[in-house]
Symmetry: D4
Subunit: 250 residues, 8 copies
């Protein structure tokens, strides 16, 4: 869309309907919308083919309202991550169209469902890892990706995993969410040829150091084919899956 507008402007310059300076001003103003405190970047969706995503913590209510409204004007899907339910309730008073997924702690709005893009197998080591997995799942489903949930298959009972190898191999991408010792991605990557996205969680206590133990384990995996995202970053795993599925489709 913007590319069309840019070509139009350039053709006008060529045809002398627009001088260089005026063209420059038009181009400069095209993609940005100035909210005073936040330069929303609508180009990003074009470049990334991805929904707009807002990281909610540390933003004031008025800022969130303005950001969501601007995004809903220009995008088909808007996602707010790590959002407390209290934040959602205050936002919904201002923007009634917003919805909330409480396990995933995601605020979202979607004008229309996107086309189906592919399939992701989503594993967790334990039950306590489910909220982060759901953050990934909700984001993926809003991006048009089918999600196969395989929860609570951690390495302390490794045979439970073997029952699920079929599901894993049918997907194009595998996301593995694990806290504590973070060993599951290594085992899964040893069993499948699919790319594995490892998500460490802060589940644990003591020497888990809020997810540091799981993060280090995943980075040091002796199995090939693993990419790691930040601790508790369910959205990050969804975004990387989406990029991979887009590359597959392209």
């Amino acid at each position: 869309m913007d590319q069309e507008r840019i070509r139009t402007i350039l053709r006008e310059v060529k045809n002398q309907d627009l001088d260089v300076e005026a063209a420059y001003v038009k181009l400069k103003n095209l993609p940005f919308e100035n909210l005073g405190f936040a330069c929303l970047d609508h180009h990003r969706e074009m470049r990334k083919n991805m929904p707009e995503v807002v990281y909610c913590p540390g933003k004031e209510l008025e800022q969130l309202v303005a950001i969501f409204q601007a995004m809903m004007h220009s995008s088909q899907t808007v996602i707010g991550t790590k959002a407390d339910i209290m934040v959602f309730r205050q936002l919904r008073d201002k923007i009634p169209e917003l919805r909330y997924h409480d396990r995933a702690r995601i605020i979202y709005w979607q004008e229309k469902k996107p086309a189906t893009l592919g399939q992701v197998a989503l594993l967790t080591a334990g039950t306590s890892d489910i909220p982060i997995a759901e953050e990934a799942a909700v984001c993926l489903e809003l991006m048009g990706v089918q999600v196969q949930r395989v929860f609570d298959v951690g390495v302390a009972g490794i045979h439970r995993l073997f029952d699920k190898i079929g599901v894993i191999n049918e997907a194009q991408v595998v996301i593995v969410v694990a806290g504590m010792e973070g060993a599951l991605p290594s085992v899964v990557a040893g069993l499948t040829r699919r790319p594995v996205i490892a998500v460490p969680t802060s589940v644990g206590y003591g020497a888990s150091f809020h997810g540091m133990a799981a993060l280090l384990a995943m980075l040091n995996s002796c199995a090939g084919g693993i990419g790691v995202v930040n601790i508790d970053n369910g959205y990050g795993a969804a975004a990387l899956s989406f990029a991979i599925l887009n590359s597959i489709k392209a």
Copy 2:
């Protein structure tokens, strides 16, 4: 191949040509070759469709000789990573077919070139990051992947990167290798819709803490679509790229 053998065994059981216990023994012995100190896992190649890879440090010469010889018997491509040239020279005295890439510090042997699988753009922030990038590149090329090298385009001169956006977007996967502040993957991921594999390097000094600074920066990227591997893990980036390209091809 093994799947055929397993089906043959099962049909024999069904046909009463083999009792259950004997079948069990046959199955058990099928995939492992016992070297005394190392259970080589030839199933892995089947499961992962990937060359055999040996992490060389900490292994004795006799162990390396035995491992390489066993792998060369069962695989078409064998790769040894993080290998000093002295180790290579000692190994080559025993196994003259081995080759060495000195910048990448890789020992390799390849019976025949694999089919072309896809294309990866490989970026480095600085010149000092090139050895790790070459570790990834050599592995990828031995896996049948085409590699577009784009070196020395770090964020301190960010306009140098923009010249290369075409190369980046033509690839199916982008690998970004960076030490010091590790900022390049964030910028690249903001410019492309391709999956980005971030490789922190130990290039730097002082508060880089041997790559910790770059690693943390990459994990905390505010741009979506990034998976991180271990510090200096060029092979890991190649393996993840390979898994993604395989998913694309499948």
Copy 3:
């Protein structure tokens, strides 16, 4: 002022109007005001030409009242940083002249506006970094510095920054506030010849380790011309800017 008093004392010694010991006692008592728990240092303002600044956390209400009152007696501008609104309200009951900036969490009092000193460009990577940026901005404005705010221009949408290069280059000093991966100062320093003051923030989660990731990234910047202050230390960036602008003016 004090220098005049010292000269007066010394002339009195020379003229035998004052014996050495009495002169010593006078000099000793000149600059300190004893509040019992806090030796206020009015010399500091002379030496530093800077407003008095109080770090509020961990101080009791009675201590804060006494410190503010003593400072307001001897200075033209008094600033209290990292102050909760509840602390402000209790303080204002005792000292009604105090004012509060709630986003910056700053309590302040200013007898008269200082002369204009220069211009600082103040950038943030994201919206969540704004409170720390405002801490810097409010301090700077109370010091007589003009502040150009350029918010939400982080590296995941790097082209947003390029629109602002003019503003950056017009300033004498550039402050860059960023959390998460902390990559923005490197990019900015690569684009301008101005000194860049980098402020890491605790914005982020997981492996951001409360700002550690951003701090390390900024310290390891491959771009020259960057000085780093403590995590979330907006005031520190203002103080360093002020010192630079004073050097320029001198």
Copy 4:
């Protein structure tokens, strides 16, 4: 033995053959042998029923000679750990009875073989972990423990482990040695009811932080029944196994 001597002394006191002070002096001098720089503690063997063990690094040759000689005088088995071969060669020039195990880096001397005490299964994740495993194995064998070595069964090829469950369950204690992500102890503890002693190794690079990643993973294991020893502490695993087998036998 000492307990008998103590009882003899006490009976002498009771029988007035010894006054209290003289008895006190006798008791005090009984167990210590003074080498000037090292108080050898022969009681320890009595209390612990374990061979004398010397940690060799940081000790001078003369000190090592004196310590080994004193221990050989009072014990049946003497073990020196983490010893370079150069240290051994210098020691052997002075004490020709000493022997060396080069993979385990252990200097030892044994007057007579101890009675057989039990059986330990000793697993490693990779080939590079073998030196630390051999440190444990050599110590155990000198203590009279049978060792079943099961090497190179790491989680990236988890099916290799299942072939060995029989060996694992036949032992009274299982030692698992692993570097990198340190995931193997969790999997093993999920498969056996035996106590599992986890030994992290410094095998790895980058974010393995010299064994820290493996150590943290093992401490955070979601499987019960695991005790962890120091990084690269093969001897420590042997000592704990020995204490357990002694409790079993007692």
Copy 5:
């Protein structure tokens, strides 16, 4: 029990009463019970001969209810660790049979008392370490282990410990719980030939770093025969004791 069922199935296959595929399906479904979010692993109890244990934090009430109910259906003893009393109260409203130990923060249910298995001496360095010690004690008692509590015998008054050596040596296993400098396990292991399980606690402040100081001290103990579990992991010490006592009994 399951082993009997498996043998029955295999005999049916042998007798041609069941074809291979049907047998496979039966076997596959045998051990798992699908709760949607958690694959309970009843095999684990068989393999480990241990009660089912649930780590409560981070699980929702509905999840906990379902997990407890399923476990109570298949096990004789169920334990929930690190449970706040509020969680217990909500759970008890749904499952009135549950009980709570408030110092240990354990929810439990036990159908019948297990046979006595052995004896553990349980030491704490200070009074503040008692809650973690009680977590271990309650788990052990529910597993049929006798517990001798020896509390508040830390190294700052080391003579208090010597009075208790008899109790320590009578046990088959010794658990030592200590925060702050974590020195007690070294001293105890120097005094007994029993295996010592060291539990660091987060008791302390400042440079204790939430138990890190005690953990490191225990891992670096110069005394042999010590296995370390995670910080505050009373349950882990119980589970390892149980595995050792089982090995003794077997």
Copy 6:
């Protein structure tokens, strides 16, 4: 006192008024008082000549009541550190003799004032460090030590310190309490020949890492004559001062 009782017992043994076993039992029971959960160590006061001190956090009310009551029975001075006012109020309901110092967060009871022991100069870098300094001061005064408070003389206004050199040199011991960069002990130790006890505090934010920065600075001081205690450990500084003053007096 106990030494007298021990001599009495020994004389009775010598005189055959007591058999060895009975004497052993008497001796064993002498110094300990068994509260069930805490072995109070009254010997410690004899050995250390110091008041009894209780670290209050993590102890239950009933435990604190019993500990205080037992100590008040056997000691002249009892001190409880790091105590919230709510804890004090609950304790006072049971033991009305207890007193509280709210800035120091200390509960105390003292039967009679001890003899004067010596003089300590107590410095703080800032006003926020005063609570930790008062913890030291209150403990010292209860131990009979005179305290000269010199607050708020941090290095950013180093001339304020010079005015106080007389006070510093008059004391036998100097305690320096500082947070943030923790530089004051180095400067003070460079100015006096007195022993300097450095107390890092958790005052600060960001990269102070809860006192870690100050702790490391103090440990690395280039000035000789400094001993460091734990972060926020005012009591520890008092105890070390007391030990030094006792050595002086002895």
Copy 7:
């Protein structure tokens, strides 16, 4: 220069002497020189008005030769930092014009001396910090800055510093280089109104953690007006000074 060329191109476009596409190609090729492995960025010098600087470690000899030659073609001053003398000797064999400063470990070449820009006071806490200070000094002098060296004035003998206040206040910028506890910048910033650039060094041992202690101290300084650079980053301090002096001059 380049700005003139760009204007020329744009005027040609305006005058129809150049079509848009050709102009685009010309612009794109203007600033980059392609060495195969390193995109040298000559724009940087224009943007930053600073000499070209090469970080030497991790680069191969051939790479360094090519980089130096290209830079010497386009710049007036070229600096290589952290260079071993062996590297210099090999380089000089290829490029005889290169010079070396051995204390600063800097390779340099300068076509003509730049105009004088201003004055920097350069302080060190100890003698061991001098090499890093000289790295800063040599860079500054090659940039046209006058350097006043004030070495060995650390806080353990703080009165030595006061003698130098005149030198400090005469400079426009003050650089303070310190290892160990890193306290000197706080003291200096408390004494001058000049901007202070703090350089932590890795001088020290034990808990200095290779400069971490000094770095943290400097970041947490309670004195305003300090900017911190990486550990041992003398060049970084020079670059920031240069940027400040340029702002002053502009």
Copy 8:
């Protein structure tokens, strides 16, 4: 001495024999000797009554020669710490009076023996800790302090320590040197009323993190009366002992 000169100058001013400015110049030049790279501070000896001490690493030979020569001119005792024997040999070629203690790695020179000051008990946990203990011992003996060495009495054989309580209590100060778990100072401080100076050493491996484990243990000691110095800082313990003994004597 200097105090006399200062009084002389002041009397001259009073008597008009000296004008103020000339007096100022005289005073300013009195205590400093300018070596170009190092401002030796002879005042320090006056202020601290301590020998001059040079930290040798990182200083060039010429610097060391000049520093030693200047110090030998003004002091009676000069000590160089952490000195390799090669450094000593080069220095001795220039200054033949220098002596070397090779276990302590100390270079020293002493014009005349100081008066006896007091007595220190010096304990080590193990034999490997002796070099650091000797660093303390040699410094102390050069300062006139008597040293009672009690080596190898670590907590794994705690009864060895009890034999030495008499020696400990006879000293005025106790230094305890320990690596690995660093538990010995806690035990010693629980047994004596003397001030205890704890010296962590880097003896150990794995999770000792070069002395970090011992350092943290010592800082967290539950026993009162302990001051901690830097890892491996034998000199620091001597300097603190010396300051205490001076206070005692004063």
